[in-house]
Symmetry: C2
Subunit: 365 residues, 2 copies
């Protein structure tokens, strides 16, 4: 697989246009593009523009309803329960987090749970929305079951990422991580490269360690058995039950609180919405103390971590969010790497919609 670099601005312009062709308003299209391309800017290719065509097929299949709006089912000064009505996940996610932020600004905190949504992109986007408003932000989502519980061989929980963000200088804190050892996207990379999986990432149909990416990519969507291991691996000794606990807690915060589907019921190929559930939480930490003091002590501690002694052979210690800032700056300056097959897919969809692909996409030399 070869990669070519394309300017962010070119991708943005094209992406906005394509979403309009999908049936979204200009404003909504820009909103979706913004979430999608932040993933590419952060180097999370799996959740970026490469999903464009996938979203279109989900719209055509009736999984995503282009014209539905969210419905607030229940609300208090600190909370809301939203029915996403099978809309586009990114639009639902932004509305939900904006509502949480508004509540945090008036009541100190705002927690919004969402049912009946769809894939919403990177969880970190929503946590970061709160961070950019000077708040602490958390977002989680469930997804179609792919993680097996400890001692199991049947995927029962989504990859269930947890994202947390809070202001700090010079790198805002931003962690955004699946509760599996690795994401399904990583398994796809091994598959494309025709490389065996390292042991400790995934299980086959019988619940045994597997090196074959096929065991995940083919068997799991067909509910034949097997799945990704939770963070910590297959054994209690290495803390597998802990990752399983975090994945389960995400199901609780998203699906159980919102009255929606747990990961084992979230589906990708059905009609009328995937039933994906999300969680959004914003906290104005000024309710605990002086905001400047809190931010300063956090920045100092993160710096101390980065500057602490390195293990033999290690060059650098990161804090969460640092790599994202560096990737963002690099890609804004030098372009976003696009793999050939994604470019081909986008070119095809442009042809279908009568968009002149070459007018928009200039490969950087």
């Amino acid at each position: 697989m070869t990669y070519s670099k394309v300017k962010y601005e070119n991708l943005k312009e094209l992406c906005d246009l394509v979403f309009e062709k999908f049936g979204f308003s200009a404003e909504d299209s820009q909103s979706i593009t913004d979430v999608l391309l932040l993933a590419d800017l952060y180097g999370i290719e799996s959740h970026g523009i490469q999903r464009l065509v996938k979203y279109y097929s989900e719209i055509k299949n009736g999984l995503i309803n282009v014209s539905s709006d969210v419905k607030i089912v229940k609300e208090t000064p600190v909370s809301a329960t939203i029915d996403g009505q099978a809309g586009m996940g990114q639009l639902i996610g932004k509305k939900a987090m904006n509502l949480a932020i508004k509540k945090a600004k008036t009541s100190g905190m705002g927690m919004v749970v969402v049912r009946n949504s769809n894939h919403y992109g990177i969880a970190g986007y929503y946590a970061k929305m709160a961070e950019e408003q000077g708040l602490l932000g958390i977002s989680m989502t469930n997804s179609p079951a792919v993680i097996v519980p400890t001692f199991g061989r049947e995927a029962m929980l989504g990859t269930n990422p947890i994202a947390i963000s809070m202001p700090a200088e010079p790198y805002p804190f931003l962690m955004d991580m699946a509760t599996s050892v690795v994401t399904r996207g990583k398994i796809e990379v091994y598959n494309k490269r025709k490389e065996p999986l390292p042991l400790g990432l995934a299980l086959n149909i019988d619940g045994e360690d597997t090196e074959d990416p096929h065991d995940i990519l083919y068997n799991v969507p067909r509910k034949l058995g097997g799945g990704l291991l939770p963070l910590g691996g297959s054994k209690e000794l290495t803390g597998g039950h802990k990752g399983y606990g975090f994945a389960l807690a995400v199901e609780m915060f998203t699906a159980i609180l919102s009255g929606g589907f747990t990961g084992d019921k979230v589906h990708l190929d059905g009609k009328g919405g995937s039933g994906t559930c999300h969680y959004f939480f914003a906290v104005d930490y000024g309710i605990f103390g002086d905001k400047k003091d809190i931010e300063e002590s956090f920045s100092n501690y993160l710096k101390k971590l980065r500057e602490s002694k390195k293990a033999k052979g290690a060059a650098r210690i990161y804090t969460h969010g640092e790599k994202e800032v560096e990737a963002y700056n690099d890609k804004m300056k030098n372009g976003i790497p696009m793999n050939d097959s994604t470019l081909k897919e986008i070119s095809d969809i442009c042809e279908y919609f009568d968009i002149k692909f070459n007018d928009y996409i200039k490969i950087l030399k």
Copy 2:
């Protein structure tokens, strides 16, 4: 090391009396005993009655102030910041969680952060306090630095447990887990048994994998280097940066929000308090939907997880909190296993306080 079983009631009576001898009121003594013995009933020996003597030495060293009361530094209808004033962690923790619960009952949620406290026992106790009131409960605490950041060789974060609990039938959900692969207590067990550590749990002074428990038990408290690995291990491939992220988030929720000490500054041997920080959160999930419906769907999902297909060779899939209920019932019926050295320590302290050990402690046959 041999174990003898002792009745819960015997231990409770003795423990209450000993804490009174330490200088606590009868009510406070019972309160502390309750936290301590729940750990033993759950089978978490490291956080149970075996800490009795340790707490006494911390009182004598001036680390724990027997007569101080908590001070509310800042408060809103949904939050409070508490200065623990170097009191006993269990008493501070219970007051803080009770305040969070009170706020949750009137405002929907209550978040309380605490600085300047001491070791508070098992985090799960406080999460469970909320669960017993029909709420969702979360508690976290930092502790003296023992976890190394990914690619580091210097302990910079506490073991930083996260506990989450929520009502469900027949087993309430209760996860309570250090964000390291294993706790320091587990390392002590290998040391006592003179067994080498499995690789992947801890690092030596140079930041290399170690099999020697001494590297943790001797080097880390002396700040010589090395430490426990975060959940996920030493590599990014196995998700070590994820466990590091969770440990760091705990420092943020406890120390940073409360304006207290981060793990690298929390100390065990100093004067005037260890500076330990805690976090308590209670949510009345009735703000999101019908409580009965939520509880029922959660119970059903947990049951489905337990009944899902087992991996080859595995007998049983657990949900978090199930083992604790079984351990509790077993130990209430059959007694709490006490190891010889703990019994000897308690017998010594009884002699010191003129308590007739044998009047209280009857070894079960």
